[in-house]
Symmetry: C2
């Protein structure tokens, strides 16, 4: 059992490891060191502090039972807590760390038997001219959050630019626009929001939610420089436009803070720059543990090292480290990359690989999305849920599941069920087709959306259902003058005929019911056999039936829009 343990970093991983160790082995001498003043805070709560939903900084650094985790909290519990203290070097041979007080400059050296690195991450700030202007900030420190909130509360922020369309950027955009009424723009370098975690179709839904709530979204666009006046930012200039900006927030990702580890000669993953650890959370030096935002652990789906920078992961890794330091045998085998974000009306949530990520990991991905109510269709209160499944075409392996829904918890239920399948996998789409989730009409349909999305993938792989992504259908429609696609709408007559009337000769109503009517043969005979046909209905259920019927009738150039009009509407497309 360890005698003296030094913990570097006191945000999430460090305090968890230290507290767990102290409970298991109270005689251990523990020194925890952090360069900041505020320690042990919930960084993921910053957007809610900025919005004002969370009243005070103290709420973000209090326990579930209301105690404030300031240095005194840890000292009371027998942990030697040093804040405002920077670790300048680790001497592995001597088993010491050197420190310097950030205000007084006082230098000290601490010896350790075991060392824990919870050094976190640092915002990736692109080298943009003007980034040192006032009211330009990242959004990871409590101090920065206070700055943003004060700026908004002062009424001096009329417009803001958020650079980066990932979770944190979007959470900040929602906080600014929704709670403070700031005219907010999001500028994202990639060609969609939430790249890497959402497919293009679902990213369209996120964009539509933001845009319909007053946030401007500019993708495939790069901030070139910031301009200011009297030292304060006033404008952000992109490669395409100039945006007014009294506030600029960079949410352009985080790099593992692995400099100390690297200087000490520990193994670092060359791609992610995260500190490499084994499944006991030990670095290449068995006396040094590491966890949280600064490490790379296996992505359990791709098998490759990846950085999962979430408070949830850090807490669980911290517990594993605490247990192992106390002589236990706990493991952390990797992660599958679950995430969730609440925007304006919708939430988005996911796990695993997107089609693009799957492809670069060497898989042959198929992505299919469905729209289905989150409850029994006859239950009075219900919401339409989008789920998109990514599977490998050759092995049928489940690779990822992402979703969008106004009912965030109901969405989370589906994602989490898939997440534990993936975590303790591998699993196939056939497993998902038969995944057992709690059923009663106020909670789901008899065939859960989880099962249905797997069944759709099965039908696609079997060649029964020829899919068009919602984007592909939209593009076909836009190019209808040149591609000669015959568009068939199988919604009930009232809906399909109304749209057909708006686009005479281009959009064709063929309600599913018509194929069971007495004149069905006539209806079929009137369809062109020599043109590709693109089918659509409300969610896809009717189109699939129509597709099977038409194929039996000798039509073979058929495809259908996944998620039908419901996916279109969520993407902001109208017909």
């Amino acid at each position: 059992m360890a005698k003296h343990v030094v913990v570097i970093g006191a945000v999430a991983l460090g305090p968890k490891a230290a507290s767990r160790l102290k409970r298991l082995a109270p005689d251990t001498e523990i020194t925890m060191i952090d360069q900041a003043n505020f320690i042990s805070f919930g960084g993921c709560g910053i957007p809610y502090f900025v919005s004002g939903e969370v009243n005070s900084v103290d709420a973000l650094r209090s326990t579930n039972y209301g105690a404030i985790r300031d240095p005194r909290y840890f000292i009371d519990r027998g942990i030697n807590m040093l804040n405002e203290t920077r670790v300048t070097a680790i001497d592995r041979a001597a088993h010491t760390v050197s420190t310097e007080h950030v205000r007084t400059g006082e230098k000290k050296t601490f010896s350790y038997d075991k060392l824990v690195l919870g050094t976190g991450s640092i915002p990736k700030m692109p080298p943009v001219e003007g980034r040192d202007l006032g009211n330009v900030t990242s959004a990871t420190k409590l101090e920065a959050a206070q700055l943003v909130r004060d700026a908004c509360a002062s009424g001096k922020v009329a417009s803001a630019v958020v650079v980066g369309g990932g979770f944190i950027g979007l959470e900040m955009a929602v906080a600014l626009a929704d709670m403070w009424g700031v005219k907010t723009s999001v500028v994202e370098f990639m060609d969609q929001l939430m790249p890497g975690v959402l497919s293009p179709v679902l990213a369209d839904m996120v964009r539509h939610d933001l845009e319909s709530n007053g946030v401007s979204v500019y993708t495939s666009e790069k901030v070139m420089r910031l301009e200011g006046k009297d030292g304060m930012v006033t404008r952000a200039v992109t490669d395409k436009r100039t945006l007014d900006a009294d506030l600029v927030i960079f949410a352009t990702g985080f790099a593992p803070n692995s400099a100390l580890a690297q200087a000490a000669g520990l193994d670092i993953d060359p791609v992610t720059k995260g500190i490499l650890v084994n499944d006991h959370m030990q670095t290449s030096d068995p006396d040094i543990y590491a966890g949280g935002d600064c490490v790379a652990v296996p992505n359990l789906i791709s098998g490759k090292p990846a950085c999962f920078q979430l408070g949830s992961i850090a807490n669980r890794q911290g517990r594993v480290i605490g247990t192992n330091l106390a002589g236990g045998d706990a493991t952390f085998k990797g992660a599958v990359g679950t995430w969730a974000v609440k925007l304006f009306k919708i939430s988005a949530c996911g796990v695993g690989l997107t089609p693009a990520r799957a492809e670069s990991a060497g898989f042959a991905p198929l992505a299919v999305n469905v729209e289905q109510l989150d409850r029994a269709h006859f239950y009075p209160e219900k919401e339409m849920m989008t789920l998109e499944l990514v599977v490998d075409k050759n092995t049928r392996q489940m690779l990822g599941l992402q979703g969008v829904c106004t009912a965030g918890d109901a969405l989370k239920a589906r994602i989490d069920a898939a997440a534990t399948m993936l975590q303790f996998g591998p699993r196939t789409l056939d497993d998902l087709s038969n995944a057992e989730a709690a059923y009663a009409p106020p909670f789901s349909g008899a065939l859960d959306t989880l099962n249905v999305v797997a069944n759709v993938a099965d039908n696609v792989l079997a060649g029964r259902l020829v899919p068009l992504s919602s984007r592909e259908f939209s593009n076909l429609w836009k190019e209808r003058d040149v591609n000669h696609v015959y568009f068939v709408d199988s919604r009930p007559a009232a809906a399909s005929e109304k749209t057909a009337a708006a686009y005479p000769g281009q959009w064709h109503a063929l309600p599913l019911e018509a194929l069971f009517a007495d004149d069905a043969a006539e209806k079929l005979a009137a369809l062109p056999k020599d043109r590709p046909m693109a089918l659509i209905c409300n969610t896809g259920l009717r189109s699939y039936e129509v597709m099977l019927k038409l194929r039996r009738a000798g039509f073979d150039n058929l495809s259908m829009a996944l998620g039908g009009m419901q996916t279109m509407i969520k993407r902001g497309e109208t017909f």
Copy 2:
């Protein structure tokens, strides 16, 4: 590939199997037979039809896209649908089934290449005198539901008795009391509500929700006879009291309807009476498939055959049968027993074994419950969630997880994550401790309740946390005059001192904070070393810290209330 397939039963399994088969192998000749007039309906929606939340019977027998599944629906799709037709016998040697029309008495014989049994279940009606009186019914047929709803709508039902405190009984009680204002009593033969799916502690919460919303609950009580006037029921007489009753609903469980199968010599599980099937859903006769309420499949945790009578299971089994009949190779390996129910303010949801069921399956169960918010504690909207985990003490195997929360979907998310772990298990509590669920402050705490409940079980198995169930603590408190237990309340001073003042000399305030104060040693010295101490706080977090501190100070007869005051409050206990 099958030439002629006969399907007996057209509620959930049959239609699913037939429709799937027809899509995969459209040339198959399919005859589907059901004795009822209304077919293919969502029986699980009946309580919502009774309550009036679902407007019409047709809503329960329509597809997700609004088509009504009457016989015509199936005939349109090439399935020879015969309703109001009873199958009287199966001749396996001749490969025929004999039928009789329920109204005309017309007899027919159908030959089959493959046969599907989806004969469902029949309500277990105890042989109670008076059960043939008017307004005495079960609640499984649409016709019975219509009767109940008409009786309520007529205003002639002032009081009702529901016999049976399982899901359906409670859903019906909620429908009657909440929507129709009927004075409703639930009589349950066992000593708790929801026996077999909830532990006593969580069952107390369900009882409290019902009672605080005007439903009377009588457990350990048996309906002996029903009395009536003019042929209509007026009273239910139990072994303890007489209850007014203008309506009596029996919700006393369902027996697999396996009579036809048994008469045909198919293998039947002697315990459950369900038809035995292999993982392809074939009975002991490979030409006969069966699924839904009438079969027994492995409980994947206990390994024993069990009947899982839910529309969700039937639909998934139906798809497997349809696939296999079309020459595919789909399997259904068993189930883990997920369930969910929405009551008045709370929902309850669970998976796997209760402590009692685990014990009778040969495990050595430990059950622990926690109370934790469903979101980050600093997030403005949040609900307290109860989760109870059942694990095997020797192997640490996860056996079950049940919960209660006002936020039903948030609860379902936790249960479903555990459900897929169990389904594709076995898994241990250490796996659950590290289960990865989607995290962001609007969706969970950084350590999800799923992880926390596993950590508590870990602490109990390690002997660090000596638990009292909430019921055990209540009982100790009730017997405080004889057991000399010293009760310690570690909530903040305001709360603990108020309760202590109400019970001077019996209830002792010892806020966690006091143990870090300057006079902590004095406080400790004042505690009795010779008496057992029972600790409590708001949720258990503080008690655990106090327990560790007191143990270090030499106290060794310590135990603490799991879930603290929050579990007490949900159980309706006040101090």
